[in-house]
Symmetry: C2
Subunit: 211 residues, 2 copies
Amino acid sequence: MRLREKLKLYVITDRKLCGDEVKCVEAALRGGATSIQLRLKEAPTSEMVEIGKKLRRLTRDYDALFFVDDRLDVALAVDADGVQLGPEDMPIEDARRIAPNLIIGGSVYSLEEAIAAEKAGADYLGAGAVFPTGTKKDSYVKIIGLDGLRKIVETVKIPVVAIGGIKPENAEEVLKIKGVAGIAVVSAVMGAPDPEEATRKLRAIVDKYLG
Amino acid sequence: MRLREKLKLYVITDRKLCGDEVKCVEAALRGGATSIQLRLKEAPTSEMVEIGKKLRRLTRDYDALFFVDDRLDVALAVDADGVQLGPEDMPIEDARRIAPNLIIGGSVYSLEEAIAAEKAGADYLGAGAVFPTGTKKDSYVKIIGLDGLRKIVETVKIPVVAIGGIKPENAEEVLKIKGVAGIAVVSAVMGAPDPEEATRKLRAIVDKYLG
């Protein structure tokens, strides 16, 4: 059950909101993030690996899990716990074959995608967008709402983390859905004036529901 | 010696010059390319994997080696023979640790980089730019000239493929350097009106010197 527990407060980096991933991740970890994901699209691989190694050390110090978005090569190079794969990333089956010991998260935007990702071998799902979000503008991102999230949680057996527009004001609605493993946030932490305090506030809400 | 032999005519894709990698690679293989490299920077990973799998099948059919530029994850997913790593890609040491059985090529732009890449565990080098090139505009690309290439070939023990602005008109100057394993081209094939014929012409020159 360690994976499920560690998914309860999952914080994702965003260079546009916080240019210094190491600083903002450390603040999030001090505030109580239980998982960190490096999401860095337009940087050379060498830079991803360099930052990833720093985040790997930090997440170990704070006993948090560390994931890399999209890039299985970077996840392996920095000894991350896992990789997060969406519709435009490597197929989950390929990733599982290459890296049998890595935790694989699937990003899903519908019940159908959730079922397919579980079948393909995902260990957990990031399901959304629960609320409208300004962070991810890719065409495949759809708003599934609280109802869409509930259906996914009720259908799959693997842990489901809710993502998309979640902030202190709406986090409780999400966490009231029975079986949700946790919440994932980008701008609520990375765009906050004080990322540590923002994380602490979210953690207090999460702990009310997920103990 | 199979690796060295297969490096003699190394053709690299370029979406800006040829938007249909599968079609142009097949033409290059018909024309006699002995190695193919997929170089695709700004595409989703899912697309890289999809195209990579097609190029893997083609290169097997033509008994050519298949390499992926930068992306070790894609190389592993499509069962490529190797990966090509430059100064802004994953460190060679990390790649070697993750994928001990993959052929690793190092892209080097000076004698110092060549020595370092060999020491780090590269199986072969792509050394350049021998001549000015319009393809790679990254700031780390330097013109080493024929003299720079000769020094690298004389110094390292691993095979060295010459790259950068090579075309039928200047290929012989490169191949006259004793010990050069082969030539790598982008625009001479991908930008040619008839990529198959362009490759065939280069192959005839290569075979004159490398048998």
